[in-house]
């Protein structure tokens, strides 16, 4: 996993430079209008510029001194710039992350196979990867960088995908199976493959993701739209408050300066969340990318935060790869050593992980002296459900499922020992798989294969349960084994003896009950279920069909990655919610700063509302707008990192966030404005 890039400094020098430039470009009202809150601040700034110019040229000081108005104008401008900067720095970080991924897909030569003439004597041309079109077929040989995403149509190769996943161990990709996808930028280590280009240049998942992070094609998610509406509602309320204040002041025989009115307005509208809103969204996508997940839309990430049910394949997710041999149980009257020898012999030439694990368990002493030269291998098939070896010595060894070996043994007229049968059942009941071994149609014993549950997986499921996510294990195992593993790993439900349509039906059933379902998959037969699921995460190693069907691609091929995605989705919402609360709670203190300042000259009694005992009306107003401006950059780190999600239950989480951001938001500005006022008071 590319963990090395997951927590770089928030403000890298070069990024900050670019972001500052970008902050000024974003002052363009046609761009800023997308953010209604900050757009109104810009209008306020513009009015203040006119007022300041008027004072400068006319010398009329009924609107306050030139310096005072100039300062207010400057602070308002800074407020907009700070908000722009927040968005720009988030974009710059996203771009930098995307850039590092894009480096992997720089121009590389591609060996395109062009069919020539009627006899299709193909000719290999070398062109630039940028010229590859969808449907082209190219050739890759050892040492080649794969020029584009595609699907292997012929051959098998070991590939180094470290450029994308950060994982140095090479992986095998081959035509036809569920692991037929290759990614541009990765390197072929051995063998030759023919690859068909599956996407148009510029339309690969990575390109889409880069566009999302850069903000160019970023669409607001439904929750973000709803929040923008709520914030616009608040802004309108404060427009009413400020406009109404003018006749109120006339009634009270008080003249309110334009600077004071605009300052009050800017302080009241939710500039903090308004300024940080888009930065939060971009940073969320950026965090997903840092977790090596390519999301096709921001919506997908947010939906992940709402997932109720998670479907996981057993193999590779809950258990480590494949089963391992853990025990040999010789049949009655058979010596342990003999049985182990036979078991090892049967597995020496067996390349399957199970076979290797049997050899491993047998130990060096046994295997060192074994010889299978000239032996005939019997491959495992679905019909026989057994495999074996015929040695030149005439020994016929078979191993396989209990009933298939029983068939062989009983057909030869031999007994199937009761003890072995009981043992086999016992193994199955404990979640293991019994593998019966026979020599020359006589039972020698049973090998216990056990699934090894990944360390720490139970804790991860526990965490998911606390988030409210139900986990479902999908396995081809029989119900007995499945139940045992499900209990041991701590999943909530399981689908045993699963066929592809079982997954689909399970997803549909959950969805009819109103639940949001996520699943991870890689094979072509997963594609319909991936498409049906609300959040479908395809492995990068999976087939093209699977990747098309899902709405996220995991570059690490890590099946537990969904847990991170769920947390990123939740963090996104939490960050928005808490900063909104903080922003609104701030207003209380700002009222207590500005309202007395506006009226204290004509209504001295309102000095009692000046709880902070601010120096003077001017300093009170300046302190409030300055606080309002600098709180934005102070919160940028929080917006970019996201407010931490804690799986402590919804009510407890609400209490916690309400205390920190609600109560904190109520108190912080009282302290902040007072401190700023002490500073400002020196000058005013």
């Amino acid at each position: 996993m590319a963990k090395q890039s997951s927590s770089p400094a928030l403000f890298q020098r070069e990024l900050v430079g670019a972001a500052i430039r970008e902050s000024f470009i974003k002052l363009n009202p046609t761009i800023l209008i997308k953010n209604p809150v900050m757009f109104t601040v810009e209008i306020g700034t513009f009015i203040m510029i006119l007022v300041t110019l008027y004072i400068a040229f006319s010398g009329d000081t009924s609107q306050g001194s030139l310096i005072y108005n100039l300062t207010v104008t400057f602070v308002l401008l800074i407020t907009v710039l700070f908000a722009n900067f927040a968005e720009a720095i988030a974009e710059a970080r996203g771009k930098a992350q995307a850039e590092s991924l894009r480096k992997t897909r720089q121009e590389t030569p591609a060996k395109v196979i062009r069919p020539v003439g009627e006899y299709k004597l193909d000719e290999v041309q070398t062109i630039s990867s940028a010229q590859l079109k969808k449907g082209d077929v190219f050739l890759c040989e050892p040492g080649d960088i794969i020029p584009s995403d595609g699907e292997i149509i012929e051959g098998l190769a070991t590939i180094d995908e470290s450029a994308i996943t950060g994982e140095s161990a090479p992986v095998i990709r081959e035509a036809g199976g569920d692991k037929s996808s290759v990614t541009g930028g990765t390197k072929v280590l051995s063998d030759r493959i023919k690859v068909k280009v599956t996407t148009q240049p510029g339309e690969s998942f990575l390109d889409k993701m880069i566009a999302l992070v850069e903000g160019a094609s970023r669409q607001k998610t439904p929750n973000e739209i709803a929040l923008t509406i709520l914030l616009a509602g608040f802004t309108l309320i404060f427009i009413i408050v400020c406009v109404a204040l003018k006749p109120f002041a006339d009634y009270a025989n008080t003249s309110i300066t334009i600077a004071a009115l605009i300052s009050l307005f800017v302080c009241l509208i939710p500039t903090t969340i308004g300024g940080l809103l888009s930065a939060i969204g971009i940073a969320g996508m950026d965090r997903a990318l840092r977790a090596n997940v390519i999301a096709k839309s921001g919506r997908a990430v947010e939906t992940a935060g709402d997932v109720d049910t998670l479907l996981l394949d057993k193999t590779g997710t809950i258990t480590i790869g494949n089963r391992k041999a853990t025990n040999f149980y010789p049949a009655p009257g058979i010596k342990q050593v003999d049985m182990v020898r036979i078991a090892a012999l049967s597995s020496l030439a067996d390349d399957t992980p199970e076979g290797k694990s049997i050899v491993e368990l047998s130990g060096n002493e046994v295997t060192r002296n074994l010889n299978t030269n000239g032996a005939k291998l019997i491959k495992f098939t679905a019909e026989t459900r057994s495999s074996g070896i015929d040695l030149p010595t005439g020994e016929r060894i078979r191993k396989g499922a209990t009933d298939s070996i029983r068939n062989i043994v009983e057909r030869a007229g031999n007994q199937f020992p009761k003890e072995t049968e009981t043992k086999a059942q016992e193994i199955a009941a404990n979640g293991g798989t019994p593998l019966v071994v026979a020599l020359n149609e006589e039972i020698k014993g049973v090998i216990e294969l056990q699934d090894i549950i990944k360390p720490g997986i139970a804790e991860r499921f526990d965490r998911l349960r606390k988030m409210g996510v139900k986990t479902v294990m999908v396995t081809g195992d029989n119900p007995l084994t499945a139940k045992f593993i499900a209990e041991k790993a701590g999943v909530d439900d399981f689908i045993a003896e699963a066929k592809p349509e079982d997954k689909m039906n399970y997803i549909r059933r959950e969805q009819t009950g109103g639940k949001l379902v996520a699943m991870m998959g890689d094979g072509t037969n997963d594609a319909p279920a991936l498409a049906q699921a609300d959040v479908g995460v395809a492995m990068n190693s999976g087939t093209q069909a699977a990747k098309e069907a899902g709405n996220m691609v995991d570059l690490d091929n890590d099946p537990t990655k969904l847990i991170e995605v769920v947390e990123i989705g939740k963090q996104l919402l939490i960050t928005r919610g808490t900063l909104t609360t903080f922003s609104i709670a701030n207003d209380v203190a700002k009222y207590f700063a500005i309202v007395p300042a506006l009226f204290v000259v004509s209504i001295p009694a309102l000095q009692s509302l000046n709880l902070m005992r601010l120096h003077s009306p001017e300093s009170a107003i300046l302190s409030a707008v300055i606080f309002n401006a600098i709180i934005i950059p102070l919160l940028i780190p929080l917006a970019l990192r996201g407010v931490e999600y804690k799986p402590i239950g919804a009510s407890a989480l609400l209490r916690r966030n309400l205390f920190i951001y609600g109560f904190g938001g109520l108190v912080a500005p009282f302290i902040g404005i007072k401190l700023i006022d002490l500073l400002v008071g020196i000058f005013v």
Binding site: P247, L268, L573
Partner: protein, 571 residues
């Protein structure tokens, strides 16, 4: 003093104790389950047949709102016509004149929307016919409209996905036959036996000890005063409302009227709990509203019992508290209690003059109306509470990292848009209206209206500002109480408050019912441990915070310039 405290506590306790079983009864009535009052069924069937309404039809939110608005328009036209010609219509023994068009417009709307802002005095501005056929009739139907509209929200809390939200006609009819009619009958009898007039005779005359001859207005008042409180309407038969010795003769009638206005708003909360079978949720709502009430009530009682500091400075002792504008038969404690209940509950009847309340009490009364959801009017309280609930669910849903949902239904952009608009509207109407009044007062001081703007205000400065603010707030909240001391029977106030009344009534009905309709149609998501439970104290605290902050932010400057400035000046 102990007796006074006991009186207040008893009024509250009896109301709550009655409200719980009444809530259970209401839920059964709304569901159509068998109840004790089923003997009303033939009458109801007759009404349905008369109106061509199907009792079993289930309507969607748009159809229901269309029904509600249509019959309201019809009532408005009828009421407007009667008031305009009351002088020449029968049942006018005192020979009172017809209302001017602007006053008739204001009065008709005011009673139609359950507000009862009265820019006239019942003794001289209305006739027995209009008091009965317009005022009392509208008191029944407006209360039933509010109650039925609130019940239309209930389905959105249930897990069953539904295109429809209920049948307004049926809910409306049952509200009257099963609740308001029988309830008012009982209350009217108690009032009549305690001295409230119930006669069609005209004015009576008495000769006082000084030998002056005094005309005493009377009329068939007991019935109207009963529904006035039971339906949280608040419009008095007499100009002085429940401070009038015939409208509220003694402490017992004071208790009855007080309990009558509180019982249904509280019972509606429990009715919701029983209807959707979530009693805990009902208790959370009740808790939030009760805390809100106490926070307004306690400062009011303290400041009223403390007496007026300006009088204290003159060296005059005030052992009974601030007595200006209060009735000696009730005293400051019962009056302080009444003034808060009547403002939070949108009744707007008064047993003391709010214009004479202490400045801080005035602020609390205003706040009660600005929130308008601490119990609130019959049905209206829940309707108002509903949009606060939606906004709270949205913000707190985000805070726990889940797309916000209310009882398994996602709250999305459309619902938030409607809730924001409703929240926005009350700020717009109150502040916009007051700003307009202040602007007219300053700029067009001398316009040739019946009451010139320069003569509007009985008091200068902050208190005058409060008088205007109070009138607009009362209109928007459909409360109907007045700070009085405001010359409001002229075209400016009649027309401006008329429109504020309309918008302040129907938008907070249309908005929440629309949201409920949209939510009921949505897919139901079963609760999981990631779902934020809304029937907890934590969520209650969150709603309370949202209500307080939203109200404070909308109205702080206005309160600062009116009652708060007065309060700090007096101190």
């Amino acid at each position: 003093m102990t007796t006074e405290w006991l009186g207040v506590i008893a009024m509250y306790a009896v109301a709550v104790l009655l409200a719980i079983p009444l809530g259970k009864y209401l839920a059964r009535v709304f569901k159509g389950d068998p109840t004790l009052t089923d003997f009303m069924k033939p009458l109801e069937r007759f009404i349905y047949r008369l109106g061509g309404v199907s009792e079993t039809a289930d309507l969607n939110w748009k159809q229901n709102l269309a029904a509600l608005l249509t019959i309201n328009v019809v009532w408005f036209l009828l009421a407007f016509g009667f008031l305009l010609f009351q002088g020449i219509l029968p049942l006018n023994p005192d020979g009172n004149p017809s209302q001017t068009p602007d006053l008739a417009f204001n009065s008709a709307i005011s009673f139609l929307v359950n507000c009862d802002l009265q820019h006239y005095s019942g003794e001289s501005g209305a006739t027995y016919l209009t008091q009965l056929a317009v005022m009392m009739f509208l008191m029944f139907v407006s209360a039933a409209t509010g109650m039925a509209a609130a019940v239309l929200l209930f389905r959105s809390f249930l897990p069953e996905r539904s295109e429809t939200v209920g049948n307004f006609y049926v809910l409306f009819t049952r509200s009257i036959t099963r609740v308001f009619l029988p309830g008012s009958l009982v209350i009217a009898l108690i009032l009549a036996f305690n001295g409230t007039p119930a006669s069609f005779d005209g004015k009576d005359t008495i000769v006082t000890l000084q030998g002056d001859t005094v005309n005493v207005s009377r009329g068939p008042a007991a019935g109207m005063i009963a529904i006035k409180h039971l339906g949280t309407n608040g419009g008095g038969w007499f100009g002085a409302n429940s401070a009038h010795p015939l409208e509220n003769p003694n402490y017992l009638t004071n208790m009855v009227e007080m309990i009558a206005q509180m019982v249904l708003p509280i019972a509606m909360i429990f009715a919701l709990g029983f209807f959707i079978n979530r009693k805990r949720f009902a208790w959370v709502i009740y808790g939030v509203m009760t805390v809100g009430m106490l926070l307004l009530l306690i400062p009011t009682i303290v400041t009223e019992l403390h007496g007026n500091p300006a009088i204290a400075q003159l060296g005059i002792a005030q052992p009974t508290g601030a007595m200006e504008g209060k009735e000696v038969r009730f005293g400051p404690l019962a009056s302080a209690y009444w003034s808060i209940i009547t403002t939070i509950i949108s009744t707007g009847s008064v047993n003391s003059m709010h214009d004479s309340s202490m400045a801080l009490s005035g602020a609390m009364e205003l706040l009660g109306m600005m929130v308008n959801a601490f119990y609130g009017g019959v049905g209206a309280g829940l309707l108002n509470f509903y949009y606060f609930l939606i906004i709270t669910v949205f913000i707190s849903g985000l805070m726990v990292g889940r797309t916000p949902e209310l009882f398994g239904r996602k709250v999305e952009a459309r619902e938030i848009k409607i809730a924001s608009l409703v929240a926005l509207l009350s700020a717009l109407l109150v502040k916009g209206g007051t700003a307009l009044a202040a602007w007219v007062f300053i700029q067009y001081n001398n316009v040739d209206w019946v009451v010139k703007p320069s003569a509007w205000l009985n008091n200068p400065a902050f208190h005058g500002f409060s008088e205007m603010l109070y009138e607009m707030t009362s209109a928007n909240a459909n409360n109907g109480s007045g700070f009085e001391g405001l010359g409001d029977n002229n075209i400016f106030w009649n027309v401006s408050t008329g429109f504020i009344l309309l918008l302040g009534r129907y938008v907070p009905i249309i908005g929440p019912v629309a949201i409920a309709g949209l939510l009921a149609k949505k897919k139901y998501v079963p609760e999981s441990s990631g779902t934020l439970p809304v029937d907890t104290a934590t969520f209650g605290l969150m709603i309370f915070a949202v209500i307080v902050i939203l109200t404070a932010l909308s109205f702080f400057p206005a309160l600062a310039l009116g009652p708060l400035a007065e309060y700090f000046s007096l101190k």
